[in-house]
Structures are given as structure tokens and as C-alpha cells.
Symmetry: C2
């Protein structure tokens, strides 16, 4: 199960309804923050989402609306006496920006900060993919590892209840049972890991389509409804996001990075769903649970 | 008349009730922002306090809780198409911090930013004064100019209604009227300008006391209630702020920069008022009007 909290679904300047970009991805106690616009620490604190429980932060690009809140989040982590290492992924300038700012503001993190290019543990991997914005930018693909599971139904049917048999099969071993040889491949099912992708700011582009093929949730730039110069600004119109979702056969599309010029977004959803029916447009503080 | 809006009365990390430090001082259309913790642009926007109406920003020192919100305020000023020059006062590192951050975040202000050491126009002056914190820090003294006003009551009593007479007296000229010579000094009163002082972070210190003598409002660091190491952290306890107010014979003391460890502040006020009765402890979004 993966939960995605939409902390900030706005763009550029905050609007009454939408804070600046930030998304919290939570899987069994692992908390990953994607982008960190100004105000993110308030949202985390006001919703008891535990600022110090964040292990990994991924920044898509250096524009202020995606990164200016990172200074405050890290400073507050220090003030809240963090001990664990914080892992950060992001564009080349990010490390220099952080340490220069810390120097100017006389702040010295009391915990280790490690800048990494990707992440993996026994449960998930986090990879980056190229996006197409006006500055160096990357999206994030969070993938649960596939899991080998025992086909309990089948075992039940064949009245096989010996847990030692199950364990050997799970270890990929053939097992002799009641005069029969049980082969692992006949009793193991692969439970496909869930995949969540977030583009950050981007126009629709091939590198995104190829990287997000078949993901369970795609969170895509949908800054504009029908702005002719969207691409010049390095952003997508809603229809563009829907076409990417369609072409990449994702399961669910979340439209985000909504320009403050829009208060009412009903039209956004209509346009998106004509192209890609499984589209949603989450408001701030909404969340999705993927199973 | 001067209005002071308490945008953020917290300290260090935001708490549920108190945002990071920021104060808006407004006098007849002139808006001055003092300190700019993260989240200030949200507070300005959510309360229709017009981010682009701010002409002058004064930063007391470079600690993140006082300055990290300035990046977002200036970026949003640009996005909201500001044309007027923005005047900024602050410690030496401020300019470099801003321009380095803008470079990293690929932001180019579309308006002029001028860094100044003090400000004056025909109505007010803004001067800085030395405060005693753990890093280079300065407080701000906003002073209305004294005004020469006609003693209208006296003129009324003496049945003098000729506006040309009033004007000459106001220009400091002696005027012949009904066979009498009216001297300006007999018909002019000095209306003393209002003074507002804000310390930023400080322990109680002589340079502050001398600089805020007799001000109408002193906004003083009151981070702690009774923290033995307050001075080591460069902050004041509430009683310290009250003693400064007493010694400097200010008219009104506003206790601020309240540590997030305190939810209930009733004790703070009791302690302060025992020493200096005219003490207040404004919550976020409250405001005072001085006349």
C-alpha cells in the first residue's frame, strides 16, 4: 500500500486554495517528500505529518516555488533535534544552494545530509527521469519491488498446510509431498509492486512517456487549461497531461501545479477526462491510497 | 496614524498558533515589512495585505526564521508584475544571500531592488539601532516627523478665520490682523510624530534602551518565560523585555518572538505587567492602531 498526500497543488505564487508544490509519499513508515515549496513545513506540522519522519526528499528543479520551502524544513528538522540522516535527490545546484543559504543564515544541521542520485532498499526504488522544462529538471519514479507470494488459494485447494513446504517453495525449492514433487513455479505468484511517478514541471515529452509506462499513478504538470504559450513557459495544458497518461497507459492521472489564475477547475477535469477518463485533480490536503 | 499588523509572532519553528516573525507597519499608504519568516507571503495574500504595496523591507538578522520567507515574497512580487523599486535594509550578508538564491533558482526580479541603510521621506524616517543577538543584528525605529500645526482652538477663540492669515502663520511669518501683530510661535503647536521600534532577536541591552527611549510602541524579543540560558541563545525572557520598556519609558510594549514551547501565554503577560503594566502579547493576525 502506498499513500500520496497532496500538500501543495499550486504553481508559481500561492493562491487562496493551493499552496506551492509538495507531495508526501508514504509506504509502511517510509516517508518521501517530493518538491518543497514555501509553506510546506506549516502544512506538515498542521497536519501532524511528522517533519522528522521524512527520510528522503526529491526536488525536481531549482525554481523557487519548488525549493524555497526546503530551507525551512531542514532548519526545523534541526530545531526538532533530528538524528537520522536525510537523503536528498535533486538538480546539480541544489547542494550549493542549501549550503550557501545555511552559511548565510548561520545554520548548521545537527544531522547528516546525503545527496544521492537514486535510492533503493529491499522494498522500493526511487529513480529519476528526464523531464522537459525551461531549466534542468527531473521527475521521480517510486517503484515498489515485485514480491513473490505463495499462491495460498492453490495450496488450500490441494490441502497443503505444512508451513515448511510453503517456506521451501517460497525459497524456490522443489518439495516432495505425499509422493508428489511440488515445483516452486507452480505455487508462486508475482505480486507486482506499485509505481508512482511525479513529473514536476514539464511540457509533454517522450522521455516522460517512456519513463512512466504503466505506472499506477502519474502526477503530471497541468499548469494551464488552454494556454497557447504553455510550452514556452515549460508547462503543460491539461489535455497534454491526459495525452501523456493515455500514451503511457498509466492507471490513474493526477493533474497538479495548477496556475493561480484558476479558481474553478471543473473545466480542467472535463477536458482531461475526455482524453483520459481516469483523471483526478486533487485539492491541497487530499490524499490517495494505492493498493 | 500608524497601524502595525502582527503577521508572525513565533520563533524558530512555526507552531500551530504562531507563524515565523513578520510585522507590517502601515502609515497612510506606505507599507513597511519588518522581518520575513517563511510563510509571510501566504499571510499577506490570505489577508489581502497587498504584497506589491510593500515599499520597504527591513530584516533584523540572517537567521532563517526571520529571512527565509523573503525569497518567496520577492519572487511573488515579480510574478505579480511589480514595477516599483523595492527598498531593503538588513545585515551585510542579506544582499548576497538574495542574489545567490535568485541565481540558483533562475529568478530575475523584473523590478529594481535597492539596498539602503536608512530611509526618510517628508513623513517618516527609518533608522536602525544595534541589538544584542548571537549574530550581526539590528532593530528598526520608524519615526513620523513632528508636524507643525495651527492651534485652531486658539484662532477660533480669537475669531480669526481668514485662511490667508493661517497660511502665513504656518509659514512662520508674523501677520498684521485687525491692528494686531500675530506671531507664529503663539499660534503653532508641534504635533509629535509617532515612533515604533522593533528589536528582532536580542537580549536586553543598553543600545536598545537608548535607541527606543519614549517610543509609542516597542516590539521586543520575549522568546522565553523564564529560561536560564536565554542570554546564551541571544534572547530575552519576558521580564527582561518589560524592564527595557520601563527603563526606556516607552508607551506600550508588545511581547513577541514567542518560543513554540509555549501554547498558553497567560503567565507571560502576568510577569510582564507586574514590571510594565502597559504590556500586550499580540497573537498572529492581530493589529494595533496608534494615533
Amino acid at each position: 500500500m502506498i499513500q500520496i498526500f497532496f500538500l501543495g497543488t499550486g504553481a508559481g505564487s500561492p493562491s487562496k486554495k493551493r499552496k506551492l508544490p509538495a507531495f508526501l509519499v508514504r509506504r509502511e513508515g517510509l516517508n518521501i517528500l517530493l518538491d518543497c515549496g514555501e509553506g510546506t513545513q506549516y502544512t506538515l506540522m498542521n497536519n501532524k505529518l511528522g517533519i522528522n519522519s521524512i527520510k528522503i526528499i526529491g526536488i525536481t528543479h531549482m525554481h523557487g516555488d519548488h525549493v524555497f520551502g526546503l530551507l525551512g524544513v531542514i532548519a526545523s528538522m534541526g530545531l526538532l533535534d533530528r538524528k537520522e540522516t536525510l537523503y536528498i535527490l535533486g538538480p546539480r545546484d541544489l547542494k550549493d544552494f542549501l549550503y550557501t543559504s545555511f552559511e548565510y543564515s548561520k545554520f548548521n544541521p545537527s544531522f547528516k545530509i546525503e545527496f544521492i542520485d537514486n535510492y533503493n532498499d529491499q522494498n522500493i526504488t526511487i529513480a529519476t527521469f528526464k523531464t522537459c522544462h525551461t531549466v534542468e529538471s527531473q521527475g521521480y519514479l517510486i517503484s515498489e519491488r515485485d514480491r513473490v507470494k505463495i499462491d495460498e488459494e492453490k495450496l488450500e485447494k490441494e490441502k497443503i498446510k505444512d508451513w515448511r513446504v510453503m517456506r521451501k517453495l517460497k525459497e524456490g525449492k522443489t518439495v516432495e509431498y505425499n509422493g508428489k514433487f511440488l515445483k516452486p513455479e507452480d505455487y508462486l505468484v508475482i505480486k507486482r509492486g506499485l509505481k508512482v511517478a511525479y513529473t514536476g514541471d514539464t511540457i509533454p515529452c517522450q522521455s516522460v512517456i517512456e519513463s512512466v509506462k504503466g505506472v499506477d499513478l502519474l502526477i503530471h504538470d497541468s499548469t494551464f487549461l488552454n494556454e497557447p504559450s504553455a510550452f514556452t513557459y515549460g508547462h503543460s495544458n491539461v489535455a497534454d497531461a491526459a495525452k501523456v497518461a493515455l500514451e503511457a497507459s498509466v492507471k490513474l492521472l493526477a493533474l497538479t501545479h495548477i496556475s493561480p489564475r484558476y479558481e474553478d477547475v471543473t473545466e480542467h477535469l472535463k477536458v482531461a477526462r475526455r482524453i483520459f477518463p481516469k483523471s483526478i485533480l486533487p485539492d491541497d490536503l487530499s490524499y490517495i491510497t494505492l493498493k
